[in-house]
Symmetry: C2
Subunit: 208 residues, 2 copies
DNA sequence: GTCTATAGAGGGATAGAC
DNA sequence: GTCTATCCCTCTATAGAC
């Protein structure tokens, strides 16, 4: 017999994934988890607190292996390959959708806002870390704001996940377009030393 | 006495904006609109149909002036300036949030999915159009997938709007980072003709 | 077209037996 | 810790008076 707390957390994730935040009620969660409905309140006090716990638990469990994979990346195309693989895996598991639903719900409900913000931060941290490492000695680094860029990447992933739900073909073409931008960045990185220096100078002059 | 249909549509938008899709019930919408609750069903048949109508009406009203402003843009930084201004205005009006909420709700409710997809398409169309025009003779055009890029941009806006709800500072830094990327692209566009040709060649060879 | 009243379903949460 | 039973609330939607 598995731990009931864990079953409820798993049930909450599955309920959000398949029925959205609106459909994740104490009754549907308990049914998905195969436990009694009253146990939601015994173990978590309220549905909102269970949802918060589920969102954070799911995120923490997935971010750690993701961060480890990012440590093995040593160029931008590799980073995008991991990002694309991550999107496919997490989409299948439904974790990005859980976060997206929490973010949507958080807009009007401060009770889940802090958990959603924390989960998003957990994803963005490793992205920021790897971007800083990869771009450290690129001529473009001076023109970029790495922490902000990491946040933009995280937000874009959420948006694409939502897009995927209403138009899978459109979402796929958006991801393909980002893949192709990687080629562009690689080309810039592969410019000869003369062009590289010129680029660096221009970036320095413009970046204020 | 204003048209009741229009009051209900405005009320629905305001209700979604301030209370999320979950809080946009027949009662709260009618209260916001200042009309009787039963009129939701008399005029629209169901709450879902009202939400769909409201989402499409709000989107159509805003996309047209947006498209006109894009016609006046003639470089990438100008495009990003319009994008940033648009984000600020629509954020204040709440239209992006309405779309984000509809997209989140659509994941588990096919009844609103088609309206959400259509509204997203309405935004993406002008973006694709202006990107194609601006990048037509850029050396980077060959490496990019314009339709996919437009979809990525639209999705990113949705994600940043949701991010804004839980962490306004983080969302602002994400937008600032995109502004700074515009500098980078401008620098590439301003490279001398020799470097430009070299870049174009490299892009051609890589883009397959 | 607009109103009141209400049916019928489903939600959060609690009491209390086991 | 787990269960049944239940309270009280809000929701969609409709019936029917005006």
């Amino acid at each position: 017999m598995v731990d009931t707390r864990q079953r409820l957390i798993d049930g909450a994730i599955e309920a959000i994934r398949t029925q959205g935040l609106t459909g994740a009620t104490a009754r549907t969660i308990a049914a998905t988890a195969g436990v009694n409905q009253a146990l939601v309140f015994y173990h978590f006090g309220s549905v909102h607190d269970l949802l918060k716990a589920a969102c954070l638990a799911a995120t923490r469990a997935r971010v750690e292996p993701f961060a480890r994979r990012l440590d093995g990346v040593d160029d931008l195309r590799g980073l995008l390959a991991v990002g694309r693989a991550l999107h496919d895996e997490e989409h299948a598991r439904g974790n990005v959708m859980v976060l997206a639903q929490m973010l949507a719900g958080a807009q009007a409900d401060p009770r889940v806002a802090d958990a959603a913000a924390e989960a998003l931060r957990l994803w963005i941290g490793p992205i920021e870390h790897v971007l800083a490492r990869l771009l450290a000695d690129s001529p473009v680094a001076d023109a970029l704001d790495i922490p902000g860029l990491a946040r933009a990447v995280g937000a874009a992933f959420i948006g694409i996940e939502l897009y995927d739900g209403v138009d899978p073909d459109g979402a796929r073409s958006a991801l393909d377009a980002l893949d192709r931008m990687a080629v562009l960045i690689e080309v810039i990185d592969d410019l000869g030393p003369v062009a590289r220096r010129a680029l660096r100078g221009k970036v320095r002059r413009s970046a204020r």
